[in-house]
């Protein structure tokens, strides 16, 4: 029983780390309609910035500044914000599909930089001296994980509350206006580009925060992690949970991560020993199946009671075109 509890704690920590990413994506896509498929790039920037600032020094390696946890987290937030600004200024003038292509390219470039700039990122070997906050005060692994989970709950709570305040304020209504019809929004004097940039940068900072927390919890990062599949996972979480709903982003993260990781044990207990090596493939099929069923029966996601953007957009296209 304690085993199951211990796993649940571990599982929720990772799920909530993903939830912060999904919340960031929800601000960008759910509220502003920015098609960012380079989520993993900002996650990587946050993770590496945190690792470089917080880790202890290593021979032949830039960084190892031993910064305290809070400062390193702040550094990761600032860095991912700066990168998002640099990426956003030229690309946010692009619409829909073009932005998607630009962001996926940037995420791939960031992964390649991580793999090749060894002096900065440890290259393929990664960075493995990343500290966990206050870990010296805990003797048991479970005790520490409980502390980390409590910290995650607080962080996600703060992010959720902050986002809710923002999107329900006039600022958020402008974002939704831009999402629905930018021409109309600019006709009443709202600068679409500026609002899109704000939304993009804040969303990317949340992704960076998520990366920093991941690095701190797992204590090791390497370029193997920052593959496009991670972006896909976060999108799946948001769509399943309900795009346009902050609560949906959190719920979707927990559910999709449970499906993604729990299906392995399920498949393993069903398959006979001789077929165990095919378990991985069965698991992927299962994940795909559940995602399709959710989209079929709840096309707006589990919590997506509000207007689903895709549907709205299709309708507006039909009426204007």
């Amino acid at each position: 029983m304690t085993g199951l509890f211990s796993y649940l704690v571990f599982f929720l920590i990772l799920a909530l780390i993903y939830a912060i990413m999904a919340l960031g994506l929800n601000l960008q896509w759910g509220y502003t309609g920015l098609f960012n498929i380079g989520v993993v790039g900002f996650f990587a920037v946050g993770a590496y910035t945190f690792a470089i600032l917080a880790a202890s020094p290593m021979a032949g390696q830039f960084g190892g500044f031993n910064w305290p946890f809070i400062l390193a987290i702040a550094g990761a937030l600032v860095m991912s914000g700066i990168i998002a600004l640099l990426v956003g200024i030229p690309t946010l003038r692009l619409r829909e599909d073009y932005l998607a292509i630009a962001t996926i390219g940037i995420a791939a470039s960031i992964q390649l930089i991580a793999n090749n700039y060894g002096w900065l990122t440890g290259g393929p070997q990664g960075i493995y001296n990343i500290p966990q906050p206050l870990s010296n005060y805990f003797s048991s692994n479970l005790g520490y994980n409980l502390f980390f989970l409590a910290m995650m709950v607080v962080i996600v709570g703060v992010v959720y509350y902050g986002l809710e305040r923002m999107v329900n304020a006039p600022w958020g209504r402008v974002l939704m206006a831009i999402r629905e019809d930018e021409t109309a929004a600019s006709s009443v004097g709202k600068n679409g580009f500026s609002y899109r940039l704000q939304s993009f940068v804040i969303g990317a900072m949340l992704m960076g925060l998520s990366g920093a927390l991941y690095a701190s919890f797992i204590k090791y990062i390497s370029p193997t992690l920052f593959m496009p599949v991670l972006t896909f996972q976060v999108w799946a979480m948001l769509i399943v949970g309900g795009s346009g709903s902050n609560l949906g982003a959190i719920v979707g993260s927990v559910l999709v991560w449970a499906l993604w990781t729990g299906s392995g044990t399920l498949v393993q207990s069903i398959l006979p020993p001789g077929l165990q090596v095919k378990g991985g493939a069965v698991q992927i099929i299962l994940i795909g199946l559940v995602l399709m069923l959710v989209l079929l029966f709840r096309p707006r996601g589990i919590m997506g009671e509000r207007k689903a953007i895709a549907a709205e957009r299709a309708r507006s296209k039909i009426s204007t075109g």
Partner: protein, 422 residues
């Protein structure tokens, strides 16, 4: 139709399962589970499915010999999708829910390291990787952060680099260019090779990394050619490695190749063209012929109907065997028992015990009689040092008449002597 077939299969497997368990019921009512996290899908998926078979063969071998401590051995195999985040979750499930005391895996160094730092080391569970060769693990163990729970049955890349540097030095080469694949394997090999080759008085004219899956490597080859090297140490796998070698030859590079285990492949030689490879000095780890390897090959053929072809299958087999022997020796299944007894069942002391059910039975008998023994792995003798690394002999190979051919061995002693001297 589908449903009927499924039902039939289910019933059939239930009967087969019941039959398999029935005779065991009398003597082994218990099961001991060993965990395993391997890439069954994702970029290493094809490799992982084959390597997992090596681990499964070991489990069925142990069960043929009556299991561990009279209990049936079971492998709980989970997929890491070649993704560290999924890998750590899988490992944590094995530790918390399946209550395993040892995990075999993962394959790629990036996933193994994430599991080590976040799951196995904090939870004090033994982790044995069959194929993670990055030198970072040794560095982490030296800092004491693995708690002694980390082992690997594949030697660190450092050893092969030393052997290669020695071979190149003995051959009279003074100026060598290094072209290496940008991943932990390539980087590890290239780094250690440069260190030792320079200490031997050689010059590295250029060390150029290349990224996988590019259509052309002309610019990488171009920069490696600067400084007029006498030979190239090309690190990679067939495929991209072939492209690099071809472009090296067509750019007029010297046709002297130093090649590691990743390119010990007849297909690579055929694709590049043996006539363009005037001289080849090759190294590869752990290809020493032992009775264990023969038994492994025969057992594998009997179980799967084909001969093993994939590298690291043997390392996975040895990992499971070592865990099972350690449990038997320590008369327990806890991770502390496994950790403390791994070195007692390997090394060189006492009587040699080989792979296969007969070998396991012999080990059991020796344990009962209280006699020391050591398991000779399918990859050769396993000597785990204080950091969980094994050192194995290195095979030397070359290309003769267009065929890849093994020409000699460099023993552990010889390699250690080189390390000491330089």
């Amino acid at each position: 139709m589908m449903k009927k077939n499924l039902k039939k299969t289910l019933i059939a497997s239930a009967i087969v399962g019941a039959m398999a368990i029935a005779p065991m019921g009398a003597q082994a009512a218990c099961t001991t589970t060993v965990g395993s996290v391997m890439a069954l899908t994702g970029s290493l998926g094809a490799l992982g499915q084959a390597i997992a078979k090596g681990a499964e063969l070991a489990v069925s071998t142990v069960n043929q010999a009556g299991g561990v401590n009279g209990c049936q051995l079971k492998l709980a195999l989970l997929d890491d999708q070649t993704n560290p985040a999924v890998g750590v979750s899988a490992a944590k499930q094995l530790v918390d829910i399946n209550h395993v005391s040892a995990i075999v895996g993962a394959l790629s160094s990036g996933v193994s390291m994430a599991i080590l730092t976040s799951v196995t080391a904090p939870s004090k569970v033994v982790q044995i990787s069959p194929s993670s060769t990055s030198p970072s693990f040794t560095a982490l163990a030296k800092q004491g952060k693995t708690g002694g729970y980390w082992f690997r049955t594949a030697p660190s890349d450092a050893l092969q680099s030393v052997a290669m540097a020695k071979m190149a030095h003995d051959d009279g080469l003074k100026r060598v260019a290094v072209l290496y694949l940008k991943n932990p394997y390539g980087e590890g090999l290239a780094g250690e090779f440069q260190t030792y080759f320079k200490r031997m008085g050689g010059t590295i004219t250029a060390a150029v990394p290349y990224n996988p899956k590019q259509p052309s490597y002309r610019s990488e080859v171009g920069s490696a050619l600067q400084g007029k090297p006498q030979a190239v140490f090309l690190i990679g796998y067939p495929g991209d490695g072939t492209t690099v070698a071809r472009e090296w030859v067509s750019a007029g590079g010297p046709q002297v190749f130093l090649l590691p285990d990743g390119l010990e492949s007849q297909k690579f030689v055929d694709d590049v063209g043996a006539k363009y490879m005037k001289k080849v000095i090759g190294t590869a780890g752990g290809s020493v012929k032992t009775p264990s390897l023969t038994t492994f090959n025969n057992d594998f053929k009997a179980k799967y109907g084909e001969l093993p072809t994939q590298a690291y299958m043997t390392n996975a087999y040895d990992a499971v065997m070592v865990i099972a022997l350690a449990m038997e020796k320590g008369k327990g299944t806890s991770s502390a028992v496994v950790k403390d007894n791994i070195r007692k069942v390997t090394g060189t002391a006492g009587e040699a015990v080989y792979a296969g059910a007969a070998g396991f039975e012999k080990a059991k008998k020796l344990i009962k009689e209280g006699k020391p023994f050591h398991y000779v792995g399918t990859v050769g003798e396993l000597n785990f040092d204080a950091y969980g690394d094994t050192s194995g002999p290195m095979a030397i190979w070359t290309v003769k008449g267009g065929k890849v051919e093994q020409t000699g061995m460099m023993s552990v002693k010889a390699i250690n002597a080189v390390i000491k001297k330089y």
